[in-house]
Symmetry: C2
Subunit: 283 residues, 2 copies
């Protein structure tokens, strides 16, 4: 595994592969890798000649009161995990090599960025879109791999790629869960024992939505009421949002329709720790 | 000259050239071509294996009260001029092929976009940056050619290319002027006879600034006072702004300094027609 620290060094190493028309898969991460990340790496390895993984904790996507400084880090362990997967390239740039001092350009995906998580994190998706756009320009991958756990992020990036005429395939990979159903997330390490025990309730609520739809329920108010009932089991959970939205434009759906794929999505706090989860539902 | 109407058709024609590592020069225009545009085409032809010229009146860069609908058009004449220059590719997309119905992604260059023309045209440079970014992604040129007349546009695009890690050289080409000094512009056709006769005063004011600096003046307030004196000759001119700014960050300069390249820039209305001009000054 080659570890590159600057966009220039990375570009030099990738150029021969591009010239040989090798396909390049790209998996962007913020490090502290778990099985969710590794499943993206395996998929990219299977579908491409070479795979580039980036580890970069992007300051632009954190709000002023968010967890940028305490975001978990363990580069040594990350490297060892990526080596085991036979990852070809690991890109770990310094912040100053990504954002020059007079950096001032942002990419913004309008409507999609303001929905769901965008309401409590108003500049988050602008930061995500900007850094992904930069990395796509540096790496010029054939395919970009994103996890379904950040479903809104996936749609924002997919829309940006379409709107800006970028030549990359954006591929979403399913959520990887702990045995008790909690979606894997680097932020799960923040949870104390009691909250960790309650956290699987998020997934249980999503499964309740799927069950309700399977039994014929089409009214999303009633489906959400059922989900809230499940969430009540977790006494320390402070719900941020619970929504059932059109999977493409993330607009709220009132009545389910066979022709519209929807996502049930939620976010909530255990103490200061914000967790998200979602599930795709076909009516 | 091959005329292409869609990004897909253009891409198919350019792909063999990219594979052969031919250098591609790109000259974006809004049509109604004059010698200023053609000087960019000639420069691109000289410096590249093939040249792509685009004609696209970009709705995103016009404000709600601006001249989008009456912007001058003459595609037949434009084609004939470009053929005479042996232009290889002309790209004339329809608006719907550039902006899909649910298009919602914009690129914004922060500080630079708010200065000079940005004060009276608050969304203009966002529209310019977005369309240029899209066209760069469609065409993937080696070099991009922009005229100095839109100096702020040049800096905004140059900064965007740097900030977003785009692999294109941004090249600025000098202003081409009418015999009486008026900077060539598609909008000059709007001027009535009286205004057209007065319009060269813009360039005369810029030359007065250069003369003042040559005689040792370093105080920009006094230089601008001299320029305003010249502009008074044009009774019908309504000045929008007159500034002397740092050529890189477009911030106002109070005292000229040998080490800082500056631009004297102005904009003014003759009737409803807004004209701009500028000149680079070395102290």
């Amino acid at each position: 595994m080659q570890v590159l620290r600057t966009p220039q060094a990375l570009n030099r190493r990738l150029e021969p592969h591009r010239n040989k028309k090798n396909s390049v898969g790209f998996v962007p991460t913020m490090g502290f890798l778990h099985e969710g990340h590794l499943s993206l790496v395996r998929r990219s390895k299977k579908e491409n000649d070479i795979t580039v993984v980036s580890i970069f904790i992007n300051p632009l996507q954190f709000g002023p009161k968010e967890d940028l400084n305490r975001y978990p880090r363990n580069i040594k362990r990350d490297k060892s995990l990526l080596k085991k997967e036979n990852t070809e390239f690991l890109f770990i740039p310094e912040t100053r090599d990504v954002y020059a001092e007079d950096f001032q350009t942002t990419a913004k995906v309008g409507y999609l960025s303001g929905r769901l998580c965008g309401r409590s994190r108003p500049t988050h998706f602008q930061g995500v879109a900007t850094v992904v756009l930069k990395f796509l320009n540096m790496i010029k991958p054939s395919s970009l791999y994103l996890g379904q756990k950040d479903y809104q992020q996936f749609r924002v990036i997919e829309k940006m790629v379409e709107d800006l005429n970028l030549a990359v395939h954006v591929k979403m990979h399913p959520i990887v869960r702990e045995k008790d159903g909690l979606a894997m997330s680097s932020r799960n390490v923040y949870l104390n024992k009691k909250d960790r025990a309650q956290a699987p309730v998020l997934y249980q609520a999503l499964k309740a939505a799927v069950r309700a739809v399977k039994t014929g329920e089409r009214n999303t108010s009633r489906i959400k009421a059922g989900m809230r009932q499940v969430l009540k089991k977790a006494g320390t959970l402070r719900l941020d949002y619970l929504e059932i939205v059109d999977a493409r434009n993330l607009a709220p759906v009132v009545t389910l329709d066979k022709n519209v794929r929807v996502v049930a999505a939620l976010a909530g706090f255990f103490g200061p720790t914000r967790l998200i989860d979602n599930i795709l539902i076909k009516a």
